[in-house]
């Protein structure tokens, strides 16, 4: 009957877990962007930068280079050009790609576009080219071009736009350092270059994976010699990052799990136990994810990763329980299981509550990433503790703790801690030295997240070089121009254009992309309209220019009509643009928030020191134009996040001390509970600095785990002094097993070559070791002396 009731309750728990899993599968929304590091209230500039990082074209671009890359290659230009044209056609058919450019001109698109009609208002310096001398010169060039027979499309354009104004203007918009051979782009190594823009942003890892697979599949279908090609871009860097991290996590977690499983099996001699040990952690993760997703509607990927790390404490709860079952489960009597749980539950509960108090502090932070982390950890740990308390005792388990016999033999080693006072004084001095070392260290904090990226510098350099050759915007620098109206922004941008040209001349930048390149302000368009000649005047000038030329002026009647048409057109505004990629581009460069308009000017080929010096020399006191270094802004964001984290961690520690003081009610007992986790943190930090690492947010968050482990170990060891001898040994044994389990998992992680994983692994493995040793040293003297006398 009792067993039947247990089975029903167990089934109910699993049904709840199943429901949570279904909820997550249907509703989980993972975000992987910089907003993790952003406070809940951002300044307008920071919001704009975040939106730019998320939505900008810059992170949707992929660059494909066909052919061998070394300078002395024997690339067949004609063949590569054919492949480039074929590939462009194939990729364009996929709706997940917005744009595929390889240098080929699309004449029909140009002729049909709304912009072509407005060409004499959108192109600069048109009126200067309508003088007799200029017309004469331009028609002379046309005569040269007409030595070769023209296609019907080319004839149409020549008749409508004989001065080639529009194509010259288009060329200046897409000014590249690449050369055009066989109608397509080639770089200086004679590789054909394609520029591909995806619909998905660079952070949409799943879609970008599919995009890359599609492109690679298309390339494999081509007869490309030895399959020589290079694919690069922001998405490739993100994918390389995630691929490396995922691969290493997979390998390391598999190896570590196997070692841990073998270790636990050696101790407990039960496969069933391995499953039972994992149960609380699995439930903790499911509950944590569900709670965060329910309240926020999404969960940061980083919150999830950090959260899973710090609820690793949840593995200790079942280890404590199963370790203590040794003397009591000779029969299949559930009441014995319940009694063991009732014995250890007060310690588990105290450890849980203390840890929750510490974590609760970060939920008050103004950073959504920290809030989520706090909520994830708290809800996860509560559910893990409850599963351990109420579910695990319902499983029959016979403890074959053979290893305990060996442990008893080795207990003599603890004689090292015989004279606690000396060791305590030594530790205290070491803590003081460590605090001084930490506070005076030159490079304490690591704010540059890029240095933690596992992606090779070669890949990043390749991306930078390609962007520069295509004069594409960099991901780091941009200018912001502000005004009260949209036209105000366009006018301001036009006003600073001469200075931007100056930046190009001085080498501060190689190119800039401003909205007014594509769409001038209304004032400028109206000014150009005024300067356009009327039909009679233009006809007169053309007649004079073509006097000695073989051209028939009537063949160019469409040109005269087009100029006349432009003279009476209503100037074009961004909202008047037809739905097209062009309109999307313009709209992405203009932003309106709270009545203020901002224009973005993208910069390419930036020489940082020259640009900064020249910019501040010219615009130091300007209220309307800002130079944004996104890397600096990100550092600033990360530094703010880190400062906020440290502040709330310290508050959390204060809450823990206060709670323990009021709970224990004995000030002399506090060191045994506080020094283990605080000493572990200080020693871990100082060792990391000694090994040459600077402290990043990844180290800081992992220290939360160390706090939890330290509290857990110190409470169990501290509160066992009144127990009988076997129970004392059992407690010490269970804490040692917890420590070794954590050490195995995190030490394996520290062997990774990926800086983030290494940071988490090193911090947790060192922290757990220090927490255990300090718990032993700072526990009450009678405990170990008594044991030592016995053994």
């Amino acid at each position: 009957m009792f067993r039947k009731k247990n089975n029903i309750i167990i089934t109910a728990y699993f049904i709840v877990a199943g429901l949570l899993l279904i909820y997550l599968i249907n509703s989980l929304h993972l975000r992987s962007d910089m907003s993790f590091f952003s406070p809940n209230t951002l300044s307008e500039t920071d919001t704009l930068i975040q939106e730019y990082l998320l939505e900008s074209d810059a992170n949707r671009l992929l660059f494909l280079q066909l052919g061998e890359s070394h300078p002395n290659n024997k690339n067949d230009i004609k063949k590569l050009a054919e492949l480039s044209i074929q590939l462009r056609k194939n990729i364009q058919m996929n709706p997940h790609f917005n744009l595929v450019e390889n240098g080929q001109k699309s004449v029909n698109t140009t002729l049909n576009s709304q912009l072509y009609r407005y060409r004499y208002l959108l192109s600069p310096n048109v009126s200067e080219q309508l003088t007799v001398s200029s017309l004469k010169k331009q028609f002379h060039y046309l005569l040269e071009r007409l030595q070769l027979i023209a296609s019907p499309d080319a004839q149409k354009i020549m008749a409508e736009s004989p001065l080639n104004i529009w194509f010259s203007h288009l060329k200046s918009l897409h000014n590249t350092q690449l050369s055009l051979k066989e109608d397509v782009w080639f770089n200086q190594n004679n590789q054909a270059v394609l520029l591909i823009k995806t619909k998905a942003t660079g952070f949409s890892i799943d879609q970008q994976k599919k995009n890359v697979h599609f492109i690679e599949a298309q390339i494999k279908q081509l007869p490309l010699t030895n399959n020589h090609y290079t694919l690069s871009g922001a998405a490739m860097i993100t994918l390389a990052n995630s691929k490396q991290i995922a691969f290493q996590i997979q390998v390391i977690s598999t190896v570590a799990s196997v070692i841990l499983a073998l270790f636990l099996w050696t101790l407990f001699r039960s496969i069933k136990l391995l499953f039972l040990l994992a149960l609380p952690l699995i439930f903790a993760i499911l509950v944590g994810m569900s709670v965060v997703n329910f309240f926020y509607g999404y969960i940061h990927g980083i919150s999830l990763a950090f959260g899973i790390t710090i609820i690793g404490i949840a593995v200790d709860y079942p280890i404590h329980y199963f370790s203590h079952l040794i003397n009591t489960n000779k029969t299949e009597d559930f009441s014995d299981h319940k009694n063991v749980m009732l014995t250890i539950w007060p310690k588990l509960r105290l450890g849980l509550v203390t840890t929750l108090i510490g974590f609760s502090a970060i939920t008050f932070s103004s950073f959504s990433g920290l809030n989520q982390l706090g909520i994830f950890a708290m809800s996860g740990l509560i559910s893990a503790a409850l599963i351990t308390r109420y579910l695990l005792p319902m499983f029959i388990y016979k403890n074959h703790l053979i290893a305990l016999l060996w442990f008893k033999k080795f207990i003599a080693y603890f004689i090292l801690f015989k004279n606690y006072f000396i060791y305590r004084v030594l530790i205290f001095i070491l803590i003081l030295i460590a605090i001084v070392y930490i506070s005076t260290h030159e490079k304490l904090w690591e704010n540059d997240l890029a240095s933690l990226s596992p992606v090779s510098n070669e890949l990043k350099q390749q991306d930078f070089k390609l962007r520069k050759s295509l004069n594409l915007p960099e991901l780091r620098y941009l200018l912001l121009v502000s005004a009260e109206t949209e036209q105000g922004v366009l006018q301001q941008t036009e006003a600073i254009t001469p200075f931007l040209e100056q930046f190009i001349h001085s080498g501060a930048i190689s190119f800039y992309d401003a909205v007014t390149r594509y769409l001038p302000s209304i004032n400028t368009q109206m000014e150009r309209q005024k300067q356009l000649l009327d039909s009679d005047q233009l006809y007169h000038n053309m007649r004079l220019a073509l006097l000695e030329s073989p051209f028939d002026i009537e063949a160019f009647r469409p040109f005269i009509d087009a100029v006349a048409d432009n003279k009476q057109l209503k100037p074009l505004r961004p909202d008047d643009l037809e739905a097209s990629l062009f309109r999307t581009k313009i709209k992405s460069m203009l932003n309106q928030k709270k009545g203020q308009w901002t224009g973005l000017i993208f910069l390419s080929g930036v020489e940082a020191s020259t640009l900064t010096a020249e910019f501040y020399h010219l615009f130091n006191n300007s209220q309307t134009i800002q130079l944004i270094d996104i890397k600096q802004q990100t550092h600033h964001l990360v530094a703010n996040y880190r400062s906020e984290s440290v502040r709330w961690f310290l508050w959390g520690s204060v809450f823990i001390v206060l709670f323990l003081f009021f709970y224990i009610k004995k000030i002399t007992a506090l060191p045994a509970l506080i020094f283990p986790f605080s000493g572990a943190i200080i020693f871990t930090l100082s060792l990391l600095l000694l090994f040459g690492y600077s402290i990043s947010i990844f180290h800081l968050v992992t220290l939360l785990l160390v706090v939890g482990l330290g509290i857990d170990y110190s409470i169990f060891i501290y509160k066992s002094d009144h127990l009988i001898e076997d129970a004392q040994i059992m407690t010490l044994f269970s804490v040692l097993v917890c420590m070794l389990s954590s050490f195995i998992m995190f030490f394996s992680l520290s062997l990774s070559s990926i800086p983030v994983l290494k940071a988490i692994g090193l911090t947790a493995s060192m922290g757990a070791s220090f927490a255990f040793i300090l718990s032993l040293i700072f526990s009450r003297p009678s405990y170990s002396v008594h044991l030592l006398c016995k053994h």
Binding site: K89, Q155, P550
Partner: protein
């Protein structure tokens, strides 16, 4: 037994029909290939006399008609071709200009602008045309038949006319620009090259006399 025999007969008949169809199909494909092979062979034998020439220098008259011009444009000058990769065109009338092409480099000398150097890869139409002429003068039938449909005619003076129509290939932009090219050949001499475009565009190059020919 009769039924069995009939079944056998039916099977045999079907097999025979299939064999005949396969044979006919193969013959058609063979005929097509044969046709192409014959054209290639004919083209090769047509171009063979040109392969003997190592350099040639001749006077020409070029007539260009276009919708854009009031009247036909006539220019005169001389062209020198030195195998395998050098072409020098001197325009004497209406204005002096010298165009030198050596491999992929093009240099234009004019009175007004001096020497202007460009890469011929940047002018794909010109490059394609020069390849065509060089293919004829080098007897490269493969290049011609790769990009053009080839046919042969005889004119009133019994000179052979090589008719070329650009093939619709993915990278053959000549299809959009040129309707057909007609080259009049008299053994080892090109008499004229006439290019017909769309919308009334034509260009005719007539070789007036040979100044020098080296074998």
């Amino acid at each position: 037994m009769i039924f069995g025999m009939m079944k056998n007969k039916l099977r045999t008949t079907v097999i025979m029909i299939m064999l005949m169809m396969i044979t006919l199909l193969s013959l058609t494909v063979y005929a097509d290939n044969l046709d192409e092979m014959r054209t290639n062979k004919t083209l090769e034998s047509l171009l063979l006399p040109f392969t003997q020439i190592s350099s040639i220098h001749f006077n020409y008259t070029e007539i260009r008609s276009s919708f854009f011009f009031k009247k036909k444009q006539i220019s005169q000058g001389n062209i020198q071709y030195i195998k395998p990769d050098t072409i020098i065109k001197r325009i004497v009338k209406p204005h002096y200009k010298k165009i030198e092409i050596h491999k992929n480099k093009l240099v234009i000398h004019s009175m007004e602008k001096g020497a202007l150097k460009v890469d011929i890869n940047d002018y794909p139409q010109l490059k394609h045309f020069i390849h065509l002429i060089k293919s004829i003068l080098n007897g490269n039938a493969h290049y011609i038949s790769k990009y053009y449909e080839v046919s042969l005619d005889l004119n009133s003076k019994s000179f052979l006319i090589l008719n070329l129509i650009p093939k619709k290939l993915p990278n053959n932009n000549e299809v959009k620009r040129i309707k057909s090219i007609h080259i009049t050949i008299n053994y080892d001499q090109i008499n004229s090259i006439k290019i017909l475009g769309f919308g009334g565009e034509t260009s005719t190059l007539m070789i007036n006399d040979i100044l020098e020919k080296t074998l």
